[in-house]
Symmetry: C2
Subunit: 568 residues, 2 copies
């Protein structure tokens, strides 16, 4: 985040000074925004940067307990500089939050500099190889040039000048969220690879006496756990690619001071970041449990995926808050559509066909009809639109009864999250399907690949219609028969995907070394790997475990009554 | 498990010999059932116990890699005896799986005995203070008396005699599952206590300029995350109590060789174990995420709850398999109901009113109608019955078309899991409501307590109707208006529970020491606790972190090009 933030928010002179030092690892930076008391609400940050005109310096300071910086990655022991986000104060007046480069440690000795307390925040669920830190600043002085000045500026006489566009500094945020969306696939795909491979090797229960036990991948319940995740993994692969393409496109526009794509891209990345991390993290845990007891071992290779990635639902915008932001954009877009204004991009469907979609019903007459991507997409589009419209109407009703807009909106916030999630799922599925349909069909192999990917897309769609069927039944868009059809199709697809499952996970091309899993080995030798890895475990270096002589043996020999003399 | 298994499966003479040694900690036992290759399928275990008549001994042996015992708790370093479940072989004939006591380590030296390899299976997701072990036996001889002989017996001339009832040995299994159901509450309640307390202290975002920031517990989305879990925690408390009562009742009957309660109790414990652990584990993670970034810290006190308890979904019967077992019982019970036979216990509703429930519709006319417990319970009862009936009819159809019963059943296994879960949820909610309605109303305080508990019950019910509404809409039992009513009621209940939330978590009466959470402190001083705990973290003993001098400083001083000379 330190380098992307410099690239996004430093002016050219600052970039020329700092980026080469970053690239040669002389400057090791950390992005210090979050504080003990404030994460999501960046405007509420309490760290101050007060301009001292007499010295042409800022005084960066932690005025209270809750203002202590908390969480910045690599800040505890590794970084020697921090980009500290702080409230700019000039002549006693506040000018909002800006970025200030503060040197934390000496270049030569790596010792912490005067006025600074920095430390590790303690053990975490995962990513414990990153030293997330805390930072307390006691009136630390930095040159005025250390405030990032691409957008807002403070000159030597203390004059503050505002950026042209209030949204310009969103660039960094959009970049980081887009990267998270693009990374999700790697996590869910690894978990699914391990689970599918193990489910081929693992056998449990004889179908009949003296028959070989069934491979667990042949149980429908196991397929229902894993194949929708396999489908989601491929979907996220395509969505990640599209996300980065849109990000690049927006970047090119921003270079020309064209911010037209930003609001749309901001809403899309927020919603997709929330939905992809939600699906990936929940999916990793489903895959882990599908391994039975052995999935509880670190050697499974799935534990670390969950522990490390689960925080992606929280950092760079907590998912609930992201959905609420996306929902606000949806409400605004719908309002434009209602009065007949044109809306473009991911929300354009809200205005389509003069909003005739409100009344439309599901057109499927048989399970096979649902294997048409447009039938699936129509359902998700209708659901999202209907949810947003229902809230908009209820809001209007409340406001016409004299309710306060903010309070009324707050009273629908659970529904707003659902609507934003439904919208994000529609746009995600649309991108998935469009990406598959664009694939070439120039050889018979390519045709086969495209066919199986289309099946995966349909499976993902049918899975969510089935498991969230209430949303499609609520307004009569579907009836129970439709839900049964889509369910039947989904079960049928499980059987169709079964023979392709191994090839589909091999297609991710993760090497054993990267998977680091005794259960997900390419060669299938899971049991000998488990035994080998366990035998090498440090606890097995000695036969007699720690504490046995001091505590356990006296108990065994003299009975449970023995008093252990404390050695403290 | 070692002691409960002895109590359940040893004969009186064996109990007299072993239990006193267990109670004085001379014998430290482990229950060694699971093997590398077999967990769920106990009949498939490969460890053998072959009777040697000439010596009146059994030879216990690990014949292959997959027969290595894997997982038994405390087996690696602590236990000196194991109850080894093995295939009994007499004169070359197999007699099924039975329990054999094998001494693993010497009483005096705690050294591993001849013919035995025992070790730690390696790091796990949680409960790493338990040394789960592996065990390889090389023709280890034990006296004949070491086979547990309460039910099946082998006498000195090698004659095998069967137990009276094939189901008698279910007793231990039922006990352990009942205990898990009773324990669930402690986990979910701790997570909710921490999350509610922190949500009172944590403030984020000003509702309007210059107003104090909002306590996050006042956001509807936050209430929707936490209050249904609070409701579930109280529900599990009552369900756990009822579970143990039924277990005791069954035990008294078993003493008199009366097995009439066993099938019912087995189905109920299986379903409840699966559902309570599912709700508790998913709920802990929801509560953890509701803490924002600080929930990712071990100091939150929620991480360990998830890591330790998440395996409860897998051990003592993997949840999917448990649901499938419950489903089999439901299908059988329904078949009896269809032909007009009487069915009792938790499934009795399937036969009620001559099965008129099939056609019944939801009677609610307004949101308030759903605050009647019987309206909520009727909905869950109908859903469960309808799901089972739908599968039974579809199965019959398939079989009448010539399908094989087992294959046909397998093709509905996803639906069977859903039906068993729906049944378990109905019986759980029924027990919750019955327990609340039984509470005394002798003082105004007791009346108030009963009222708020009833609200929690209704909230839990309305939450699941809303989030699983498709199941209630599928056959027209409800329509969209009903779902909207129950949703409106649910939102209203969130506001009603808000002022009681702190008292409700204080009611669990967990002490700070037991919660071990910087965020869930009774005194609310979360930020100073985080800072204090972090400062005491071992990583903060020295300013310069590990590896800085050797690796980081050379890089900073000479740039990223420096070659680090390996010290290996
Ligand atoms: C692994 C990890 C690495 C991190 N790395 C960095 C880093 O390098 N640099 C850095 O500066 N920070 C970092 N962070 C901090 C991170 O960015 C914040 O924790 C994150 O933004 C969430 O904010 P919060 O903790 O304030 O959550 P909160 O906002 O306190 O969220 C708590 C709860 O309140 C709810 N809530 C809050 N506001 C609202 C609202 N308006 N409406 C409805 N609900 C609301 C949330 O939904 C959530 O349920 C890191 C965090 C983690 C976990
Ligand atoms: C923390 C922990 C402690 C333990 N302690 C002990 C102990 O003290 N002693 C001991 O003996 N054991 C112990 N165990 C082992 C535990 O009892 C087993 O791991 C558990 O019973 C699950 O069995 P499994 O591993 O064979 O899972 P599997 O049966 O291999 O399950 C893997 C997957 O296959 C699916 N599956 C399997 N069969 C079917 C089917 N028929 N239909 C549909 N799906 C199916 C499951 O649903 C699951 O998704 C422990 C395990 C853990 C995690
Ligand atoms: Ca649902």
């Amino acid at each position: 985040m330190f380098i992307p933030a410099l690239e996004g928010q430093a002016d050219d002179k600052q970039k020329d000074k700092w980026l080469p030092m970053c690239r040669s690892y002389k400057v090791i930076g950390t992005y210090a925004q979050t504080e003990l008391g404030h994460g999501s609400n960046v405007r509420g940050l309490e760290t101050t940067a007060t301009f001292d005109k007499s010295k042409d310096e800022f005084i960066v300071h932690t005025p209270c307990l809750t203002a202590i910086k908390w969480w910045p990655g690599n800040m505890a022991k590794t970084a020697n500089h921090a980009l500290v986000m702080a409230q700019l104060i000039i002549d006693g007046k506040k000018y909002g939050v800006h970025g200030f480069i503060v040197q934390l440690r000496d270049f030569e000795t790596h010792k912490v500099r005067a006025g600074i307390e920095v430390g590790d925040i303690g053990p975490k669920f995962g990513i414990n190889m990153v030293d997330n830190g805390f930072l307390k600043l006691n009136h630390v002085r930095i040159p005025r040039e250390n405030m990032l000045m691409r957008f807002a500026k403070v000159d030597a006489d203390g004059t503050f000048s505002k950026p042209n566009h209030s949204k310009l500094s969103y660039g960094t945020m959009v970049f980081v969220r887009a990267t998270i969306v693009d990374t999700c696939y790697k996590y869910i795909a690894r978990a699914v690879t391990i689970a599918v491979r193990y489910s081929i090797v693992r056998r449990q229960f004889e179908p009949a006496k003296n028959q070989p036990e069934t491979q667990i991948i042949d149980y429908q319940t196991q397929q229902f756990k894993l194949f929708p995740l396999l489908a989601a993994a491929y979907g996220m692969f395509f969505v990640g690619k599209e996300m980065m393409r849109l990000y690049q496109l927006n970047n090119e526009k921003l270079q020309k001071d064209d911010v037209s794509l930003l609001p749309e891209l901001h809403a899309l990345t927020s919603g997709w970041k929330a939905l992809t991390t939600e699906i990936a993290c929940a999916g990793i845990e489903v895959a882990r449990r599908s391994l039975g007891g052995h999935g509880y071992m670190v050697f499974s290779g799935v534990i670390n995926l969950f522990q490390d990635w689960v925080s992606s639902q929280t950092y760079e915008g907590e998912n609930t808050i992201l959905y609420l932001q996306t929902a606000r954009y949806l409400l605004k877009s719908l309002q434009r559509a209602v009065v007949g204004k044109k809306i473009t991009g991911s929300v354009s469907y809200l205005g389509e066909r003069g909003m005739a979609w409100v009344e439309e019903k599901c057109a499927a007459k048989s399970p096979a009809d649902f294997s048409n991507p447009s039938v699936i997409l129509h359902a998700f589009q209708h659901r999202a639109g209907r949810m947003i419209l229902t809230i908009a109407q209820a809001l209007q009703q409340k406001i016409s009864e004299g309710a306060d807009l903010q309070a009324a909106t707050g009273s629908f916030s659970v529904d707003l999250v659902s609507a934003a999630r439904a919208h994000s799922m529609y746009t995600l599925l649309k991108t998935y399907s469009d990406s598959v349909e664009k694939l070439p069909e120039t050889t018979s192999d390519l045709v086969a690949v495209k066919q199986i990917l289309r099946k995966l897309f349909i499976l993902m769609g049918s899975y969510y219609i089935e498991t969230e069927s209430g949303d499609f039944l609520y307004d009569g868009y579907m009836n129970g028969k439709h839900v049964q059809m889509v369910t039947d199709l989904g079960r049928d697809l499980l059987s169709q995907i079964r023979p392709e499952a191994v090839a589909l996970v091999d297609g991710f091309d993760f090497h054993d070394h990267f998977l680091n899993s005794a259960l997900g080995r390419y060669d299938g030798k899971v049991y000998s790997a488990l035994l080998e890895w366990a035998r090498e475990s440090p606890l097995n270096n000695s036969d007699i475990g720690p504490g046995v002589k001091e505590f356990l043996l006296p108990t065994i020999t003299h009975g449970g009554e023995v008093r252990i003399v404390s050695r403290m």
